[in-house]
Symmetry: C2
Subunit: 89 residues, 2 copies
Amino acid sequence: MAEENIIFVGKKPTMNYVLAVVTQFNSNVDRIVIKARGKAISKAVDIAEITRHKFIHEAKYDSIKVATETLQGERGESNVSSIEITLTR
Amino acid sequence: MAEENIIFVGKKPTMNYVLAVVTQFNSNVDRIVIKARGKAISKAVDIAEITRHKFIHEAKYDSIKVATETLQGERGESNVSSIEITLTR
């Protein structure tokens, strides 16, 4: 059965997330969603590109979506951009 | 006639680029491509989202593409991710 997994990109090194994506692909997951907000968006793109070019050459972009999320903080609301990159093999 | 303009995102403040995109849309350009590399990718997403949410509400994403570019530097080649966001109205 096709499974879908979501990877949230945070402050860890890029290669940690690449390893997570590659591990998922190698354990029968067909579709992986990489999500990131704010400055981590650039890292999410790096993760997807490194995965495709160096490790899982048959992985393809199913969709790339961007949006704005509203965060509730101590000083009120703030807006942050987000990205959702879906890779399939 | 439909025109297409390209905006390269660099080190200037986000709102400078938003203003450039909005100005283009308001002067009869129907399609704008926002390009960025490396850490500027997050800023490119911010520019597109701020343009759509605050200024040009009818602007839509035509495509979002990511790629890897190889740069020639003094110390040899290096790879950098890039994004190309196409907005239409």
